[in-house]
Symmetry: C2
Subunit: 417 residues, 2 copies
């Protein structure tokens, strides 16, 4: 009997009626002979409601207490879903993370899963029960509840699938898969039947936020086949259809290498670019610039250091647009004089566009096609950064949609697969 | 350093502002040198909201899952209260029942506490921390969450006070103590400074529902001094005032026996009376009548069987008014023909009035004063039932307020103490 893990997001669990709908889908799979573990998120809005109360009490609540508070949202979900399955005549049992137990470290609000005990769950599955486990949370070595951070239920689902040796982890969400790019920008965007783990990582981190990135890493590390699909379709469609719908994150690179060189176009609209000009080119300078930025908890994305001229160089990096002001302050107050830079320049209206694909490794000319396409559209490239399976460019934000559409067409993504 | 347990009801915890108020009160006690454990209820309305969702899913949800669901209400409360204490600069830590652990049996939705581990709590108190523990819930031997039923947080507080050997358990609620009777019925009703445990049991079970009855039993069994007082007064009143306010449930019978014979007048408006007429007077007949009633989960209160005449007797008992119809159906369908009764008669518009007091044991004439008073008011007594410290009468509901006021005056309750 094949074991599958189903994960349902907050929208799918958003009301008692929607929970009944989830129960019908789970029951259909169970009727078809699958063993099932379900990992639901908190009902949509619930986590925000709880955090909102905490912030009314104090602006920076203690992380341990925040986790005590926020973890209740998923506990409500698992209990209600168990009841909804009982109402359909199914045997089902719910567990909070600590009951399983899902062991984590003690990094409250951003904990990492260390181990998952399979004893209770195996016993229940063997007895024919559907097992429902809270996402987003576990318990540390001292018995404290620790949550995995926003979107952590995806990670819980994949980790549970790995621990229980499931055949597949199905992530039900409000989109029906991973697309070649955002369909709101390119109407010809096409759903991908499969993406590789590496591509999914790049697509997720570059702004196609279908799955929490840590869950993708987890799936990749343990080669757990993970499928993203929609919970909004009628739960009564044929099961065979559901088992092949959505987008499967696969670990069979070869399959994809036969296909198109480029899998998709990712983008991130809200970037900001900062350049430290006239920096003395000496060892340790990158750390002296970025150390204070990291200490201010600002995430840095692309980093470029130009060839030095006359012992001076320019150092450029990007940050999320919301951190732009803070970054400029840190550099102006703590860095500029200290390292003897000439000046600090910035641009908060830039966007990043990336072409992603494992096929890139064996195909030449991807970069030249990309740069030629942008040039033909008159789009100036501000920064370039590359990895094995992606090429990213920073451009003026006003050209972002144009760039994505042009690249989608240039790489023939509307027809490929 | 004296240890006290504070329990706060749902109204006291009803909003983030009220939670801040609770925190100020707790901080005041801590500043005065007390060690404190706080046991808060769920925010008012929260338990009903959760149970309401469960009922939307199915009418009779599984008790284990109901407990998974309902227990989240108190978990939210403890986390928010810990934050509110942090905001006042206090070290505080919250625990769910399973974290302490508070061990219960597996009677979901009506579990009983079996033991409480003091290790974590002692360590925290010794370190100067305020400890906050969820009321209403514990964990069974298999790691399932089990709740103690409505009002169970009172029981949790007293049980924790017992386990931790506290000096006193303070139950903060929306009334400022136990009164000689309901002040809404008798404006001269007077707050009692002390009541004995037995009196409190009778007062609580007879409708003066200030404390959950099981918590009173618990306090009685372990002789835990328990004080009922108001959380609605300004938390900034002098601490000395607070330590002697409210009503203390005491275990010093002698003190009270010197006082008035009667401590208070309890009443229950919503009673119904059922009489099975012409019952053959043979062994086992009471069980044959009440067995089916108990099986239908109907609680029976007063029971009277008259002297038999010609081998026939009348059997009368009372039930909560809401169970009247169901009781009549059970008797008519399952009992009447089976035992060969002549007929079933009922009256759903009766009320019970009781005089309560440990002093009754050593005073004669309480019953005669009671019956004479009611007679002078022209109130007919339908049933009488007595225990060591109370006399209850059943009367027509339209006379209830009149009876309570007349008895309150006859026993001089507005002046005594």
């Amino acid at each position: 009997m094949a074991l599958v893990v189903h994960k349902y997001g907050g929208t799918s669990m958003g009301s008692t009626d929607r929970i009944k709908n989830v129960a019908r889908r789970v029951a259909k799979w169970h009727d078809a002979g699958y063993q099932i573990i379900v990992v639901p998120s908190a009902m949509s809005g619930e986590t925000n409601r709880l955090i909102g109360m905490a912030r009314e009490i104090m602006p920076q609540p203690d992380p341990r207490e925040l986790d005590m508070l926020a973890s209740t949202g998923e506990q409500v979900s698992v209990a209600l879903l168990a009841m909804a399955l009982h109402a359909l005549g199914k045997e089902a049992v719910s567990y909070a993370g600590w009951q399983v137990a899902i062991r984590t470290d003690s990094a409250f609000t951003k904990a990492r899963i260390q181990s998952i005990d399979d004893v209770k769950v195996t016993r229940d599955l063997d007895a024919g029960r559907i097992v429902i486990i809270t996402g987003f949370q576990g318990v540390d070595g001292d018995g404290n509840i620790a949550t995995l951070g926003r979107g952590g239920s995806d990670t819980s689902a994949v980790a549970i699938a790995v621990a229980m040796n499931a055949k597949e982890c199905l992530i039900y969400t409000d989109v029906d898969g991973v697309y070649t790019t955002d369909p709101r920008v390119v109407s010809e965007a096409r759903r991908l039947n499969t993406v590789t783990f590496e591509e999914m990582l790049e697509m997720a981190s570059l702004g196609s936020k279908v799955l929490q990135i840590r869950s993708v890493e987890f799936a990749g590390n343990y080669k757990m086949p993970t499928r993203v699909l929609s919970s909004l379709t009628d739960p009564m469609i044929a099961l065979e259809e559901e088992t092949v719908s959505g987008t499967l994150i696969s670990f069979e690179e070869d399959t994809n290498m036969e296909q198109a060189a480029i899998t998709g176009i990712a983008f991130n609209r809200d970037e900001a670019k900062i350049t430290v000009l006239g920096v003395p080119d000496r060892p340790g300078i990158a750390f002296q610039i970025l150390g204070p930025v990291a200490e201010a908890n600002i995430e840095v994305d692309m980093i470029i250091q130009n060839q030095s001229v006359d012992g001076k160089t320019d150092f450029t990096f990007t940050v999320p647009r919301g951190e732009y002001q803070k970054s400029m302050e840190v550099l102006t107050n703590s860095v500029k004089a200290h390292i003897g830079a000439a000046s600090i320049a910035g641009d908060a209206k830039v966007s990043k566009v990336s072409v992603v694909g494992v096929g890139m490794r064996s195909h030449v000319g991807i970069a030249s096609t990309m740069f030629r396409t942008l040039s033909e559209e008159g789009i100036n490239i501000l920064m370039i950064s590359t990895s094995e399976i992606k090429i990213s460019v920073l451009i003026d934000e006003k050209y972002m949609e144009l760039a994505v559409r042009a690249l989608h067409k240039a790489f023939d993504l509307e027809n490929a697969d």
